[in-house]
């Protein structure tokens, strides 16, 4: 029997049509799937949300590509996470034209190692938060030097010399007095308190009174003081110690207490970062205040206008009263 001889029944035709429709449907579905898959490859990734939270919400800034949320409160708090990051050691020399450093022998390193000019530093070996208030360096008291400079920021890094024989609370009290005195003499300057660095394990063995527990206690006292006095706090202890909690060898002078040249850019970058974040917060607060003021002002204007309208007849009457009565 030849092919031509075969006759198609209606059932055969119907079956063939069903198969053809099904095949077409499969092809269409496949095409849709492939197109979707291609689209998925071309699609841009979801934007990564980067969030910098300084503290609790008051001001919120949002950008389109990378979302940055900066939220602030009125004071720099210990929970603060810096919104500005200065890479460790990469400080800007010009930035420190606005600052003045006050300290002991550790701070003499800023000048000796030539990170800062001598006229931007008041420092001498042996000074403490107590003795700084009455000790002359180069024939001048600290207040004279600071007033002469009138810096935007006065950075204090003091306390190491008292650790061995003065109580942390006592030094903190003296520091509080010193801050008050500086504010009186230089009302336009902001105060920056810098933590004191750790010592090496060898130094602690040689001079047990100057141990890291006492240093940590003192640092926590002045950190609290910074909050109470509403001054900028700079924590440098953690970046100068090794994984054992003592001063890292790379930063330690042979006496285990003083600092080698490499430590200073690290400290300066931390100070710069803290000040920049403080300035950012101030800026955001100012923006927030001006926005609030604008809203309040427009509300006040409206209510004043209403008040004027309502009180105008009374005022007119009052103005008619003779002056010499």
């Amino acid at each position: 029997m030849s092919y031509n001889d075969k006759k198609s029944t209606p059932a055969d035709i119907a079956a063939t049509l069903v198969i053809l429709v099904l095949a077409a449907a499969i092809v269409v579905l496949l095409c849709i799937y492939i197109l979707k898959l291609g689209g998925a490859f071309e699609a841009k990734p979801e934007p990564v949300q980067t969030t910098h939270i300084i503290s609790e919400a008051a001001v919120t800034e949002t950008t389109t590509e990378t979302e940055i949320i900066i939220t602030t409160t009125s004071a720099v708090t210990e929970e603060s996470i810096p919104a500005v990051t200065v890479p460790l050691g990469e400080y800007d020399e010009a930035f420190f034209e606005r600052t003045f450093i006050v300290g002991d022998s550790l701070s003499t390193g800023f000048v000796n190692y030539e990170f800062l000019p001598a006229d931007k530093v008041f420092a001498q070996a042996g000074l403490t938060p107590s003795s700084i208030m009455f000790t002359e360096v180069g024939g001048s008291l600290v207040y004279d030097k600071v007033t002469e400079n009138n810096p935007e920021y006065i950075c204090i890094m003091l306390g190491t010399n008292g650790i061995a024989y003065l109580e942390a609370d006592f030094m903190s009290e003296k520091m509080s007095l010193f801050i008050d005195e500086l504010r009186m003499n230089c009302p336009d300057s902001e105060i920056v308190l810098v933590s004191i660095p750790p010592v090496t394990a060898e130094h602690e063995i040689d001079v047990p009174e100057t141990n890291i527990d006492r240093i940590k206690l003192y640092n926590s006292c002045i950190e609290k003081l910074a909050e109470e006095k509403d001054v900028i706090w700079v924590e440098t202890y953690s970046i100068l110690c090794d994984n054992t909690g003592y001063l890292a060898d790379e930063y330690a002078e042979t006496d285990g207490l003083h600092l080698k040249i490499h430590a200073y850019p690290i400290i300066l970058s931390r100070i710069q970062e803290a000040i920049m974040n403080y300035e950012l917060i101030q800026e955001l607060e100012a923006e927030n205040t001006s926005e609030t003021d604008a809203v309040t002002e427009s509300e006040t204007m409206e209510s004043t206008e209403e008040a004027v309208v309502t009180t105008l007849p009374e005022e007119t009457e009052a103005s008619e009263i003779p002056v010499n009565s």
């Binding site: 022998s105 003499t108 390193g109 001498q124 070996a125 042996g126 002078e253 042979t254 080698k260 040249i261």
Partner: protein, 162 residues
């Protein structure tokens, strides 16, 4: 052929450079004497034997933070201090334009020494021997000051040069 010539030329240049730096090191190490003395030669000779911890060299621009000296009266100088502030170690050599300048310079150096003694007496008594036995030599237009771990040896070296 060309390659060989270039290779020879490079080798020759390297050898010459090596010789130059070698001579410079030798000059610093041996140090000139008497009339040939230089400020940097004297400090180099002392520091070849005695360490100034965390030594930082000071120049005419920043010397004012340490010495009350009129730099216009100084012909040459070489000054090293301890950068970390941990130790009172210091080495300062000044050659003044004239003896009058040297006299004023010596007074400024003495004043610096007195100030360091006042600071370090309570601060690091163990280091006071460096200041109590410090070397201060005035010779013609020269003023040399050394406060270091071996002042006696520093004095010998300085005197052998001046």
């Amino acid at each position: 052929m060309k390659k060989s010539i270039i290779a020879i030329a490079i080798t020759a240049m390297l050898m010459l450079t090596g010789c130059e730096s070698g001579e410079a090191v030798e000059a610093n190490a041996t140090v000139s004497t008497a009339a040939e003395a230089t400020a940097s030669g004297i400090t180099a000779a002392v520091m070849a034997e005695i360490e100034i911890p965390s030594a930082m060299e000071k120049n005419a621009e920043n010397i004012g933070a340490y010495y009350d000296i009129d730099t216009a009266t100084v012909a040459e100088m070489s000054v090293f201090i301890c950068g970390s502030g941990a130790y009172p170690d210091e080495l300062a050599v000044f050659k003044f334009n004239d003896e009058a300048g040297a006299k004023a310079g010596a007074e400024a150096v003495q004043s610096r020494l007195d100030s360091q003694i006042a600071i370090y007496t309570d601060y690091t008594p163990a280091e006071m021997y460096k200041l109590n036995e410090a070397v201060l030599i005035t010779e013609g237009n020269w003023v040399v000051f050394a406060a270091c771990a071996d002042n006696a040896r520093a004095k010998e070296i300085i005197e052998s040069i001046l």
